[in-house]
Amino acid sequence: MSLVDRFVFVVLLATSAAAAAEPARDPQDQERIAAAVAAVVRQDDGAKEAIETLANSGRARRAALLLQLSLYLERATGTEQAMAGALVLNQLAFTPAEKLDAVEPHLLSAGPALRRVFTELLATIDRPDGGAPDFRVYEARIRGKQPPPAGLILYLYEVSPDAALASMERIYGGEPASRGDIEVLRKVLPSSEVSHDLSGDELVWARAALDAIALDPAWWRRLYAAAVLREQPSLATPEITARLQRDSHSLVRQAAATR
């Protein structure tokens, strides 16, 4: 999925979250964060003190402080605020659990810019050194929740449909009814760097596989089909798209509706 597609996906996910409101900004937190960032940009002696003040203010409310920092970064303009903000974040040394606690409840309600900050925060958990994501860190949290944490699951599929599906199979178990079709998709799609570069045969095979996966009894596999469709719009047919948009599971419908 290209970043542009991902951005649209995020925008529409946020839209689909309907009237859910973004978290509120705490003026005092925002002021302290802005002061710390400005001091870092200036590289002056006040930076250390500003960071300590900020850390102390959030000592008993780390997730809340991280949320406020995310809200600040959402509106960062320029490399100065963005990178100095990253230095502040790094200095505050949030744990993966603190990051998840701050982000996960707001993933669905966040607007595009805030969701971008959230996804980059989660990337520091599941892709600390770049490369392929490792979503196992989230599996315990997902496994223990009913209904499934929609925002987090959609995030996983947004970042990597394959890695997300692998996690879902580990969490919910079962043999994929459409394993063969999934393999077909995985073989065909990596050979194409640009979505409309698929050859005629590849397009036929991929659409047939996608059609089968979209009929799988497991919602997380149908969600996979919807996510792949977003990555490769050329695979779409009116039938597949319509079926996914009418899916019985809300997550599948949400993913399909974002086309």
Binding site: S2, L73, T79, M83, A84, A86, L87, V88, G130, E193
Partner: protein, 499 residues
């Protein structure tokens, strides 16, 4: 009896003048030179001088210029007789008592006059000076388009830099006149598929979203050529095609040339390069009788062989002009390179994820596979430096499936690894297979809350600016705007990357 000057002094000619811009079809010539002035009589009773002359072409009227005979050497005009008509005969000229010289000048009956004829002035044949005082007939001389002179229209063909592809939108910029032939106008080979319909754009006659054609604007003065001449547009080979719209539409030079009819002061066309190769586009004025070219202007079109990718720092939004002119050095450099004739795309570095895939990667692949590009240059600042490595790495990894190309140039300006927006590690990896890598970084100790770049082993130019006299005060937030770095990067690209 009044003394008379030499008769040959009174032989003059007219010139047609063409006004700079007219509505289509307007007459454009201005008077030429009245000639063969001959005194035919003098009435001592009335003091009237009679003379004949050959009227000037393009004249709606004539007037007499005269002055005291002792002022003839300096053309000291002292009087005028207006409105003597166009018959070529005048019998009532009376300058008064004394000795005089005079001549007849054609005019348009309103405010423009033609030639006063030529004479040896300072040893060379030159136009006689005009009467600048105009005591009776206010006329302004205009010899630029005289109807009896050689037809030398002013022709101008302007070409523009290419429009943007997938990156930020660049401003419309005209190619300087002195670059129209060398190096010429860069143009993309139009083998891509801007309307995403599965067909190469070069094979279609209308392409919605087409962005690879080069705009050219033609102007001619006079707008309508003199009788016996025509304006023509031609190409030196079929390597270029000329269309009526940026989305192609109607082809103009299918037969190799087209007669131009300026229905407005300028004509605008779009040039396509379907399959590569260079060619010239020429606009000319030529004689109908023998095809002789009397004026022309030309633009050389050369296909781009490279693409330059510029990646800004975190949260820097690419734009032309830059949103922060003194704080977005990466984009300033990108804009300069485009003005130097490179095909440039500038992006927010976030279009390049850690995998290197995405819009910038797709643009490069499209350029290589569909636009005959073989050279790639990538540079970036801060996280854009990290993204430069990510993009280079993916291009190198996918080389076999992409095609033949080389990464001719890469550069980091205080490069920071870009595994996420919050990555703070310096980028220290040399982009794989780069032909030339420049690395500029600041490293003032990198203590508490300091963001630093780092050396990159294998760089062709690896500069710790903190250790230089000109860069010792630079920080991560100012290094991308350092004039020395921007100039060096510009020079390095121009040395290492063919346009």
């Amino acid at each position: 009896m009044r003394p008379w000057p030499l008769q040959r002094l009174f032989r003059f000619s007219f010139v047609l003048l063409l006004l700079p811009e007219f509505a289509a079809g307007d007459a454009v010539a201005t008077p030429g030179e009245a000639t063969d002035l001959i005194v035919t009589g003098y009435d001592s009773g009335s003091g009237h001088i009679a003379f004949t002359y050959v009227p000037a072409c393009g004249a709606a009227d004539h007037h007499i210029e005269f002055g005291a005979l002792d002022g003839v050497a300096s053309y000291a005009y002292s009087g005028q007789v207006c409105g003597i008509g166009t018959s070529g005969v005048y019998a009532t000229f009376d300058p008064g008592p004394g000795s005089f010289f005079f001549l007849v000048v054609g005019d348009d009956g309103v405010g423009v006059e033609g030639s006063y004829g030529t004479s040896f002035i300072g040893g060379v044949s030159a136009e006689r000076p005009q009467d600048a005082l105009d005591p009776a007939c206010p006329r302004v001389q205009d010899l630029s388009q005289r109807c009896d002179g050689a037809f030398v229209p002013a022709l101008a063909m302007s070409a523009f830099r290419p429009s943007s592809t997938s990156g930020a939108v660049f401003q419309r910029v005209e190619i300087p006149e002195n670059e129209e032939l060398t190096p010429g106008a860069g143009i993309r080979v139009n083998g891509d598929d801007d309307n995403v319909n599965g067909q190469a754009d070069r094979d279609e006659s209308t392409v919605t979203g087409e962005n690879d054609l080069i705009e050219v604007v033609l102007a001619a003065d006079p707008q309508v050529p003199q009788t016996g001449y025509e304006y023509v547009l031609s190409r030196t080979s079929a390597n270029i095609r000329v269309w009526s719209a940026p989305t192609k539409n109607t082809e103009l030079l299918a037969g190799g040339e087209a007669i131009l009819n300026f229905t407005s002061p300028t004509l605008t066309f779009w040039v396509e390069n379907p399959t590569g190769g260079a060619a010239d586009l020429e606009m000319a004025a030529r004689a109908l009788s023998d095809g002789a070219i009397v004026a022309s202007d030309q633009v050389h079109f050369r296909p781009f062989t490279s693409i330059v990718i510029a990646l800004g720092g975190e949260s820097q939004v690419p734009a032309d002009p830059p949103l922060e002119p003194t704080n977005h050095g990466t984009f300033q450099l990108a804009i300069t390179l485009r003005q130097k004739g490179y095909d440039v795309a500038m992006y927010d570095e976030d279009v390049v994820p850690a995998s290197g895939a995405g819009a910038a990667y797709n643009e490069v692949v499209s350029a290589i596979q569909r636009r005959a590009v073989s050279g790639v240059a990538i540079f970036g600042y801060s996280h854009g430096g990290g993204s430069t490595n990510d993009l280079s790495r993916r291009l190198d990894t996918m080389r076999a499936s992409i095609g033949v190309f080389s990464i001719d140039f890469t550069a980091y300006v205080d490069g920071i690894d870009n595994d996420s927006d919050f990555d703070l590690d310096p980028e220290t990896v040399l982009p794989p297979s780069t032909g030339y890598h420049a690395n500029y970084y600041q490293h003032p100790g990198c203590g508490f809350l300091q963001l630093c770049g780092a050396p990159v082993a294998g760089s062709d130019r690896d500069v710790n600016v903190t250790a230089t006299p000109w860069g010792s005060a630079l920080t991560h937030f100012t290094i991308d705007d350092a004039p020395t770095i921007l100039q060096e990067l510009l020079d390095q690209v121009m040395t290492n990357v063919a346009r």
